[in-house]
């Protein structure tokens, strides 16, 4: 399998802050990979490094077989618009649409026109006066119409209404079907985007905590819910990522998959078990350091 993106032991520090900490993951060519994690997990930093806009403090990032930083042939094959992208003074939409094709050899003006029309991006207003949703729309136009072999979307839905998000999904899937390329997309709207991904990478505090196919990622955690003592009993010995308790009821997200042994113990104890959703998994990893269920059970008994 050829990898479009290969991140090897990348660390990026800003002063005493470690934005990325020995992160490693790969994205196969043609994949749509979700880059997930809490705010400050390192998603934008890793995207900046992949896009050649930043360099790792240590480790190596390769895109399409090359280190992207200052490598012109690779940079023309990457599209990355930051979530807080700055535009030159007094830029309007037509400035963006006029200059982008000069840098993007695969630019498709029809896709750009369809998106501009669908998002209803104002033509006469200066971009610096755009709303958050309108800025996201411009970023999506640049990302999709550039048809770059490696396309990075950093929180593309920020401020977008439901109709605009639906338009984005439709054009993304339609255009990828006709012109396959590798997409890395960071988002907090996990449930809504989950079906797009064939692969997910979850970052927490600069570290890669999950790098797996989407379906395999669902087998990484289980949600056990029911009466609290029974839940604690079934969860015994497993790493607990997250706990929710209301009255005498409890729901815990623990490491592992729903195997026959777990199902049997759950049936005996009268609790429900189900694979954790991707959103649960991301929330679980972001909740803090996992504990072992033994302590909780011990404390109660």
């Amino acid at each position: 399998m050829t990898h479009a993106i290969d991140i090897r032991s990348v660390t990026r520090s800003y002063g005493s802050t470690r934005a990325l900490d020995d992160a490693s993951f790969s994205v196969p060519e043609g994949s749509i990979c979700g880059l997930l994690g809490r705010n400050g997990a390192g998603k934008t930093t890793v995207m900046s490094i992949i896009a050649g806009q930043d360099r790792p403090s240590s480790g190596e990032a390769q895109v399409l077989g090359h280190t992207p930083f200052e490598h012109a042939p690779t940079l023309t094959r990457i599209s990355y618009v930051r979530d807080n992208q700055r535009y030159p003074d007094d830029y309007r939409l037509h400035h963006v649409l006029r200059i982008a094709p000069a840098f993007a050899p695969f630019w498709d003006p029809d896709v750009a026109a369809e998106l501009v029309d669908g998002f209803r991006i104002p033509a006469r207003t200066a971009i610096k006066k755009f709303s958050r949703g309108q800025l996201s729309s411009v970023a999506i136009v640049l990302g999709l119409a550039s048809r770059a072999p490696v396309t990075l979307f950093d929180e593309p839905y920020l401020g977008l209404d439901v109709s605009s998000r639906a338009l984005f999904y439709r054009v993304l899937l339609q255009d990828l079907a006709e012109h396959p390329r590798t997409v890395l997309l960071s988002t907090h709207l996990i449930e809504e985007s989950e079906s797009l991904f064939d692969r997910v990478v979850i970052l927490d505090r600069g570290k890669v905590v999950v790098d797996a196919d989407r379906d395999d990622a669902r087998d990484l955690a289980v949600t056990i819910s029911g009466i609290d003592d029974a839940v604690d009993l079934v969860a015994t010995g497993r790493r607990v990522f997250q706990t929710h308790a209301i009255g005498g009821l409890k729901s815990v997200t623990v490491a592992g998959s729903v195997d026959a042994d777990l199902r049997e113990r759950a049936d005996r104890a009268g609790v429900k078990v189900a694979p954790a959703s991707l959103q649960d998994l991301v929330a679980a990893y972001g909740a803090g350091d996992p504990t072992t269920a033994d302590h909780q059970v011990g404390a109660r008994s």
Partner: protein, 236 residues
């Protein structure tokens, strides 16, 4: 594929500010110069007289107005354009080279525009009324090759100086231009201290090409420093 040519296009993308605003400023200087000349005329000075010609040719309006705008243009050519250029896929090296090429184009454009206006002014015997707007000392007193060199190098110096301050800001935040300004101030002050005793001799021996060499040194230094700052700048 080099991104130098696309970077030049990126800068030229804002056509009004690149090509028209300098003309608006020149027009404003012209109107103000004519108004001032009219005031002198009404107060008794006679167009064409020696005093009128000498006074008019000392008009520094164009030197006060255009460089300020050009420094701003140089600042924005990097401060807000660099992050977008990176997003579009420019390398830092190509961006610096493309920005210098664009600055040279703008400088050449201004030199040609002012040369044409000067030729017109001289051909019309100073706009048929004896008004001196472009045939002035600071623009070479009607010497067109000298005017071309003065405007080209002066404009390029302003643009690249603005650029290096912006690059220092992109690299180091507000500390960058502040430190650069202090450092430049110190260099100029120390230089002045060193040459003050020899000032009368230097003044006597002064040659115009000294200014040209100084401008070339400033342009080269600013461009190299911009590249050094941008090379390691992180856009966040």
């Amino acid at each position: 594929m080099s991104s130098i040519a696309p970077t030049v296009k990126l800068h030229l993308n804002k056509r009004e500010i690149t090509f028209l605003v300098p003309l608006y400023i020149t027009l404003m200087v012209t109107v103000l110069s004519v108004l001032i000349a009219l005031i002198f005329w009404r107060s008794g000075s006679q167009p064409g007289s020696d005093g009128w010609v000498i006074g008019s040719r000392n008009n520094p309006g164009i030197a006060y107005s255009l460089p300020g705008f050009l420094v701003y243009l140089g600042v924005q050519s990097i401060a807000t354009t660099f992050p977008f250029a990176l997003t579009l896929g420019a390398t830092r090296r190509a961006f610096t080279a493309g920005t210098l090429a664009w600055a040279a184009m703008v400088s050449a454009y201004l030199a040609i525009v002012l040369a044409i206006l000067t030729v017109l002014e001289i051909a019309t015997n100073h706009w048929f009324t004896g008004f001196y707007i472009f045939d002035i000392y600071i623009l070479g007193t009607g010497n067109i090759p000298r005017l071309l060199a003065i405007v080209f190098l002066g404009s390029l110096t302003s643009l690249t100086l603005g650029g290096v301050f912006a690059a220092a800001w992109v690299r180091f935040g507000t500390n960058g231009p502040r430190t650069l300004g202090i450092a430049l101030g110190l260099v100029i002050a120390v230089g002045a201290l060193l040459i003050v005793p020899a000032w009368p001799d230097l003044q006597a021996a002064f040659q115009l090409w000294w200014l040209a060499v100084t401008a070339v040194v400033v342009i080269a230094g600013s461009s190299i420093a911009s590249w050094a700052f941008l090379r390691s700048a992180t856009v966040r």
